[in-house]
Symmetry: none
Subunit: 172 residues, 2 copies
DNA sequence: TGGAATATCATGGGTATTTATGGGAGTCAA
DNA sequence: TTGACTCCCATAAATACCCATGATATTCCA
């Protein structure tokens, strides 16, 4: 039995899943959309077959990642508090800034169907302005789901801002 | 090398049950309300088929979790005391002492009926201002039951506070 | 090396199950 | 009896599960 040294830090042995590149997929009449196969295989190590998603607090997009990420957050929080004998937070949830708790509240569990699709809840789709197409954008440890038109503009602006900042130098 | 002693920490191997997302369900004439299926399956590993609930000490909502969580709390508290927790408490001056005991006292066991519903005791419903609808809010290791109108306002304020704090980056 | 056989993927649609919800019949106690 | 509560059943809607297809990409082998 491998020795695990997680009781102090609450850090898990879960490998870092990496989401890279962008894909544009269709959203069908039932609200289903295929999660890019590359993303699914990045999530392959997780037991829960699906993703966690919530509306971005700062942009018109959907944030998403594996269930393992959220479990890590919750476990870390619980262990930290109880190990310190701090029952108050575990029971009342006060001393925290509310971030983890809020994320739990506004997140949705989106399980894969047999074909690796998820159903976009109406609320999320609406928040991102998604109707019949969705752009998946890899952001390393997480990914985003945009309405294609909106993402294009957003992306162009992002590049433009970078270019302006790097004027004279090389554009990355 | 430190050997992990479960008896010391009181930590259980119970997996972190994660309550995620929010659901709004009806409360019928008999005071029954369906616990979201996702929450029930999160509790699936527990022997006791039902939830533990108590009025929040700080807000107008009902706090709830599985029996396993309460057992964990009691066990940790016991371990703490046996390990000289009184001593620790005297030194650190933690005021958690009465909390766990109080929670035990004011908690209700709400068993599921055949359809996965619980009956909201009048006192709890009243405390939360719940009449004919109830919003279940996942908070990771526990969940809350709110009156929908009240939760909406509370939630909006919560998100607004977070948004204000975020510099425009991503949350997690 | 060229091209056929094979595998993977995104997509569509049909069907079976589950879930939330309502109501009725039986039980127990005051 | 009157409630309060537990089972049990019914149903509409939401969801999960199943199979089919075309488009790419990959492998294999003569």
């Amino acid at each position: 039995m491998p020795v695990r040294r997680r009781e102090k830090t609450g850090k898990s042995d879960r490998p870092v899943t990496s989401f890279i590149s962008t894909y544009e997929n269709k959203v069908d009449r039932k609200g289903r959309v295929s999660v890019p196969a590359a993303y699914r295989s990045a999530l392959g190590t997780e037991t829960y077959q699906g993703v966690i998603a919530y509306p971005s607090l700062t942009e018109g997009t959907i944030e998403a990642f594996g269930r393992g990420m959220l479990d890590d957050l919750n476990r870390r929080k619980l262990d930290q508090t109880l190990d310190g004998g701090d029952f108050t937070q575990a029971l009342v949830g006060k001393s925290d800034d509310g971030l983890v708790e809020t994320i739990n509240a506004i997140s949705s569990e989106l399980p894969f169907d047999g074909e690796g699709r998820i159903i976009l809840p109406a609320k999320l789709a609406e928040h991102a302005g998604i109707t019949d197409r969705a752009t998946f954008v890899g952001r390393g440890t997480r990914f985003q789901i945009w309405a294609p038109e909106i993402y294009e503009k957003h992306q162009a602006a992002e590049v433009e801002a970078l270019r302006a900042r790097l004027s004279g130098g090389t554009v990355v």
